[in-house]
């Protein structure tokens, strides 16, 4: 393999890793605060691409506007899902909310099939992202720079929200103990809604960039990225945001490199993530950066 080809693959890997990281954060944040795997997260991701698609294709909005609207709508969708499907089960056994999450996931995927149709749609790709850039003998389009850059900016912003704002502090406190957090005058429900809004908005950014990258969207596209990013979150240590980002990058990069170095295994591309999941659960069940098991008081 020449250096150029390796760099080409590295660019692919970083891009895919960025997308996985954005999606994995949503899983890990929701788990952190509710101890719930939000299986609907992949479908939230899928629907965000349709919001953007309809914004550009049907409502003929300028792409900048359409994308922003799609992100806002997706954030609202996340909040509504929590209100409707998880909040009523807040005091129920945790398995109930998990089942509800799986139900929402199926519901949305199938609603997607009915409403959007099963035939894949072509995602609008603004030419600005397709400008070819040549760097060190590697030719890539601008999008390959935009995705990691935007991801980095969002991670900084997220870090700021979680560690430097009142809302972030409320989220971190609620993560430990709902009752006591309420006794400090914090509206825990609001903190949870914001968590869902942030996670879903990041999924929407990931979804839109996914559309820009792969050009095609369909109602089942949430399934595999959803599962893989769930694995990325577990791999990094579920509940830990840095862990989710790390897990996302390792998974995205690993997947691309597996195919690059061992083309014979290209068919096992999707299996890679699951093998990683099995290994991490065997070797280090709390994930790379996960805390040791703690009991929620």
């Amino acid at each position: 393999m020449t250096l150029e080809i390796f760099l080409q693959n590295a660019a692919n890997g970083i891009t895919l890793g960025s997308l996985y990281a954005l999606l994995a954060i949503g899983y890990t944040m929701v788990y952190g605060i509710l101890r719930l795997i939000n299986f609907a997260h992949g479908e939230i991701f899928m629907i965000s691409t349709y919001f953007a698609f309809y914004g550009t294709a049907i409502f003929a909005l300028p792409w900048q506007v359409a994308f922003v609207v799609a992100i806002v709508l997706t954030a609202l969708l996340g909040v509504v899902i929590e209100r409707a499907a998880y909040r009523p089960l807040r005091d129920a056994p945790r398995i109930s909310a998990l089942i509800s999450a799986i139900g929402v996931s199926f519901l949305m995927a199938n609603l997607g099939l009915v409403i959007f149709g099963g035939r894949p749609k072509t995602f609008y790709r603004p030419p600005i992202f397709q400008v070819p850039i040549e760097l060190g003998g590697v030719r890539v389009v601008a999008l390959f720079f935009v995705i990691p850059l935007l991801t980095a900016i969002l991670l900084v912003a997220l870090n700021y929200i979680v560690y430097k704002t009142k809302t972030g502090l409320a989220m971190r406190a609620a993560q430990w103990d709902f009752d006591t957090t309420r006794l400090m005058g914090v509206d825990v429900d609001r903190a949870i809604s914001i968590t869902f809004a942030i996670g879903s908005a990041l999924a929407a950014v990931g979804g839109i960039m996914w559309g820009l990258r792969f050009a095609e969207i369909n109602p089942n596209m949430g399934l595999f990225p959803g599962l893989k990013c769930f694995i990325a979150a577990v791999f990094g240590g579920i509940g830990n945001i840095s862990g989710a980002v790390l897990g996302g990058f390792i998974l995205g990069f690993g997947e691309i490199m597996l195919v690059a170095f061992l083309p014979g295994l290209a068919g096992y591309r999707d299996a890679f993530a699951f093998v990683v999941l099995i290994l991490i659960l065997l070797v280090r069940p709390t994930g790379l950066l996960g805390d040791k098991q703690r009991v929620k008081v």
Binding site: A170, T181, M184, G185
Partner: protein
């Protein structure tokens, strides 16, 4: 927060001079009853804690003391009866709204945010009194930052006053037990309560620590012009610092009065020595 009730701030916030009329208790429970299924944990509980008092709530294990605290702080909704803060009914409000109206508490088994630093624990409480929301935090950066700096200063000062200066960047879980108790009190004070509920603050402390704690409690009562309601097992603590107290046994109020009166009360002695069971049988 949007729904802070002005009536509470006018009456309840410490430092305001508009003292409510003398006969209006800072905290009152009126015929509060709590049933869990067939078990009546608290039955027709009445309590009047005057403003500025250091009031004790005592009783043997299972008497219903902590249940009363859970009702007053909004963790439990009573089956019947009312809780009033300076005459304003707060019965059944959610815990965050009760906290905002001016009641703070600590726990028998310490419930700090063990994953956060000492400073952050206090900041969670302080944030309650602050207006800036997430959007403002993201957009109005300079103003937000100035506010943050000021809050950190307030928190540091509070930690200093409570004797926790110098450990503000430790994880709460890293503190020794006695200091965790102090931190819990500091965190409660950060919400600027009018009424502070202390649930067995001396539990698990050695005599020297208990001595320090008693000083701390009377001290903060004066310095923060608080009304304090205290649950305690350690008789020495209650008798030493409380002006009045109520004694609970099996959910019933069996006595109410000054420490002297309580110490001479037959029903209290029976309840504590276990004779109560015989008397009831």
């Amino acid at each position: 927060m949007l729904d802070t009730n002005d009536a509470f701030d006018a009456n309840g916030a410490p430092g305001t001079d508009s003292a409510p009329s003398a006969d209006l208790p800072a905290l009152a429970c009126e015929s509060v009853t709590m049933r869990f299924g067939g078990l009546t944990a608290v039955d027709g509980f009445n309590l009047r804690v005057p403003k500025g008092a250091l009031y004790g709530l005592i009783g043997p294990n299972g008497a219903g003391k902590t249940t009363v605290f859970n009702i007053v702080s909004g963790v439990l909704r009573p089956s019947a009866g009312a809780v009033k803060l300076f005459g304003v009914d707060v019965t059944g409000l959610s815990p965050d709204r009760i906290a905002r109206s001016g009641i703070a508490r600590t726990f028998q088994n310490i419930r700090l945010f063990r994953n956060l630093t000492v400073l952050d624990n206090v900041l969670v409480g302080l944030h309650l009194r602050r207006e800036a929301n997430l959007a403002q935090a993201m957009l109005a950066l300079p103003r937000h930052r100035a506010e943050e700096t000021q809050m950190a200063a307030t928190a540091a000062q509070l930690l200093e006053e409570i004797g926790l200066a110098g450990v503000s960047h430790y994880r709460a879980s890293a503190l020794p037990y006695g200091r965790q108790r102090r931190l819990e009190i500091a965190r409660a004070l950060a919400t600027k309560p009018a009424v502070l509920l202390l649930d067995e603050p001396a539990a698990g402390m050695n005599p020297a620590e208990t001595e320090d704690l008693m000083r701390l409690i009377t001290d903060i009562r004066n310095r923060f012009s608080l009304t304090i309601l205290l649950i305690e097992h350690e008789m020495k603590v209650v008798m030493g610092i409380c002006e009045r107290m109520t004694v609970l046994d099996h959910g019933d109020t069996i006595a109410e009065g000054t420490p002297d009166e309580i110490q001479r009360n037959d029903r209290v002695i029976k309840a504590y020595l276990g004779g109560g069971a015989v008397a009831r049988a």
